[in-house]
């Protein structure tokens, strides 16, 4: 119980009335700033991109960066790299956020079901979690894509199956320890329905731990999506994503390395920023997590 108390109390400090801006290291501040910038870009990308990201301009092919009006240059079809980058950030973040939320909801639900029913349901959930953890997800994802073809919705759904087992394990463990003793069992004794106990009491109490887990899964989702797109099996043209840009830019690595450099850098910075923030949050909220 006491190890859940700490993150809960700490979470209140972090997310509640007192925001401790002063004890945030510089690196974490930079990471946070970068992520906020990325999210803002993702939201307003179509408004601020200087060109239409799919518009080819065959007279201006492979223009190097710094040549106005193409700040980041153009690609093999003369498309503006900056505009493509902005839209790519939007698509990649959309997939990463969508998938992270799906997997968090799915995993937490399964974890709660396992904790509530125990017995057979619990065994099945744990077996599936073992299965998922023991298979490389990229291979499973590739198999599904091979059988079903590709679309943005399928891709988000597929990525949403990534990492659920971690939420499931965590939420199951915390829910079991919470309902064995303490506030959850007290609430049950008040006559509360299981829904009320789990959603109104247990979920808010373990939310900080789940959020920390999310920051650990999120970068991996970005890497996974960009990997798939790099292989040409993720986001399909004319739509574009960060991995997709790197994949197509590879062909021009000798003549026009800038096509792949800016999306590659964006991927690295974003995953790095989430990891830095996640590490800090974990130390802050829940030192028991690995």
């Amino acid at each position: 119980m006491s190890d859940q108390a700490l993150p809960a109390a700490a979470a209140q400090k972090v997310f509640g009335r007192r925001w401790p801006g002063q004890d945030m290291p510089l690196l974490v501040k930079i990471a946070l700033l970068w992520l906020v910038a990325m999210i803002v870009i993702a939201i307003v990308a179509p408004l601020i991109s200087p060109f239409v990201y799919t518009a080819p301009n065959l007279r201006n092919r492979l223009v190097p960066p710094g040549t106005l009006p193409h700040i980041l240059g153009t690609d093999e079809l003369g498309r503006d790299v900056l505009s493509r980058l902005l839209i790519s950030i939007r698509i990649s973040l959309l997939i990463a956020f969508g998938a992270s939320i799906i997997s968090a909801v799915l995993g937490t639900t399964l974890g709660f079901l396992a904790a509530y029913f125990r017995g057979l349901v619990e065994q099945i959930v744990l077996m599936l979690a073992d299965f998922q953890a023991s298979m490389p997800f990229l291979i499973l994802a590739l198999s599904v894509l091979a059988f079903f073809g590709n679309s943005l919705g399928l891709l988000i759904g597929l990525m949403g199956l990534f990492g659920w087992e971690r939420y499931a394990r965590i939420s199951r463990g915390l829910a079991i320890s919470a309902s064995a003793q303490g506030y959850a069992s007290a609430c049950r004794q008040l006559g509360a329905s299981p829904m009320r106990v789990y959603l109104r009491h247990i979920l808010p109490n373990i939310a900080s731990t789940l959020i920390v887990s999310m920051t650990l899964v999120f970068p991996e989702v970005i890497l996974l999506e960009s990997g798939l797109s790099f292989l040409g099996l993720g986001v399909q043209p004319p739509m574009t994503s960060l991995g997709n840009m790197v994949g197509y830019g590879r062909e021009y690595i000798t003549r026009a390395p800038w096509i792949m450099l800016s999306p590659a850098l964006t991927i690295v910075c974003t995953t790095l920023a989430v990891s830095v923030l996640g590490d800090w949050l974990r130390d802050k909220l829940d030192p028991t997590l690995r």
Binding site: A9, A186, C187, L190, G191, A192, R196
Partner: protein
């Protein structure tokens, strides 16, 4: 006495515990064929060491745990299955007070919200009424209106236990199980909370099952007292009678060990020897015999049954050395 509110008949509960990952399952008999009844407005105190099965019995009395054998009847009806809608609805009539009030409260909600929650759960009154009733109850247990909006960790241990008490009383229950309600509190606070509990019991006409290892507190609160040892009732009777003249050797040892101001010179302190009781390894015969200063050969072979004895009203003792009652069928009220 008045009508029986709760009657437990031959309750038994056995836990299986496994040693290590692949070890054999050892059976632990936590409660062993225990019967008792509680009348409306009456308090039955349960005394015993840790591991004596008193908490398990409290949980069975509330229907939180189903007994392996025996039955609990509340207001004449058998206890519904734990977690069923009928059981949940019944929670409005029976409540529990916990040893650790901080653990029993949700740290992420202000206490007023939590005190109001039983009314939300059982859909009593509208929002405004619920809030007003919660405020009144918190004021009744002695919290200032400023403390009501605080979080549990911002209150003292005594205040938290008052909050738990207020929450338990919101639905005006008939029956309260208190499991070591003051043993986690500072000694100076204990008396205040116990006094509050006694006042509230009279005010609301509560029946209580009061579980504690602290004889003084039990004596102050209870009408009747039962002493548990390794899952058995070894002695039961009127609180004053029992503490004034304990009959069972174990009770005598407990009473003699309790810090009292006036110990009559004849009563020497009895120090129990031997291993503390281990419910996983119950001795044969009378389960107390390895530690009993008076044990005879018979105690090793034959387990004594709880029988009525002459001393005191409704007094029952499980000991071969205590003379049985001459009156047949004088069961506890």
């Amino acid at each position: 006495m008045s009508t029986v509110l709760l009657r437990a008949t031959d309750l038994s509960r056995t836990y299986g515990s496994r040693r290590g990952l692949f070890g054999a399952v050892t059976k632990v008999r936590a409660v062993n064929r225990v019967s008792f009844s509680i009348a409306a407005g009456e308090t039955l105190g349960i005394v015993g060491e840790s591991g004596s099965g008193k908490s398990t019995m409290g949980r069975m009395a509330l229907g939180l745990e189903a007994p392996d054998e025996g039955q609990v009847r509340f207001a004449g009806e058998p206890m519904p299955a734990s977690g069923s809608p009928a059981w949940r609805a019944q929670r409005a009539r029976m409540q529990m007070i916990y040893q650790d009030p901080l653990g029993a409260l949700d740290r992420r909600l202000p206490v007023i919200v939590q005190v109001q929650e039983p009314l939300d759960i059982h859909r009593i009154g509208d929002q405004a009424q619920r809030l007003r009733l919660a405020q009144e109850m918190l004021a009744r247990v002695g919290l200032s209106s400023e403390q009501m909006t605080r979080y549990p960790h911002e209150l003292s241990g005594g205040q938290r236990q008052r909050v738990v008490l207020a929450r338990a009383l919101m639905t005006r229950p008939d029956f309260l199980v208190c499991d070591e309600p003051v043993s986690a509190l500072d000694v100076s606070i204990q008396a205040q909370v116990v006094n509050l509990l006694v006042d509230l019991q009279a005010e609301f006409g509560l029946a209580m099952l009061f579980i504690s290892h602290d004889l003084r507190v039990v004596r102050q609160v209870s009408n009747r007292v039962a002493v548990m040892y390794l899952g058995d009732f070894v002695e039961e009777g009127d609180a004053d009678d029992l503490f004034a003249a304990p009959l069972h050797p174990y009770t005598r040892a407990l009473v003699s060990a309790a810090p009292v101001t006036k110990r009559s010179s004849g009563q020497a302190r009895i120090v129990l020897t031997g291993e503390p009781p281990n419910p996983a390894d119950r001795p044969g015969g009378c389960s107390f015999h390895p530690r009993c200063p008076l044990a005879i050969a018979r105690c090793k072979q034959e387990a004594p049954v709880l029988r009525s004895v002459e001393q005191g009203f409704g007094r029952r003792v499980a000991c071969h050395l205590v003379e049985p009652s001459s009156m047949p069928n004088s069961k506890a009220a």
